[in-house]
Symmetry: C2
Subunit: 92 residues, 2 copies
Amino acid sequence: MKRYHLEVRVKPRPGLLDPQGRAIQHALDSLGFAGTEDIRVGKVIDLALMAGSPDAAVELGREMCRKLLANPVTEDFQVTLMNGARPVEGAE
Amino acid sequence: MKRYHLEVRVKPRPGLLDPQGRAIQHALDSLGFAGTEDIRVGKVIDLALMAGSPDAAVELGREMCRKLLANPVTEDFQVTLMNGARPVEGAE
């Protein structure tokens, strides 16, 4: 068992209304950042866990998304292993 | 001017208390995911904008963080250009 760091990104599905993204777009407009588009706001969750292998760590992260971190109806998620140079990813 | 896609990650500074991360850690424990650590919850913001170059796009994203998206006292941010194969990053 080794300690792995994961970065989990949970984002609203394309096509779904994202009111928070809308609000940010309006605020950016008022601040003079004209012409921003397609603003979507999600969560990014950093965590550390113990696992037997890099693949097992990513699979644990995906399981956490399915059970708790992401809403399966409205959100997509992506799990990235942060140890080492080559990222291991698992999206859904 | 070209259209660029940015991914902006805004995370609580290391050392600051993150109650949302704590709550997630307890919930994961109850679900049987024992031994998770250092859970920190931040925002991930996807957006599209027009800029003259990749570097200018990233700099615009950083400026948006400084003016609106991140709290300069409690949060760090990282801007990643999503066009093309090689990501251009700008963190703070």
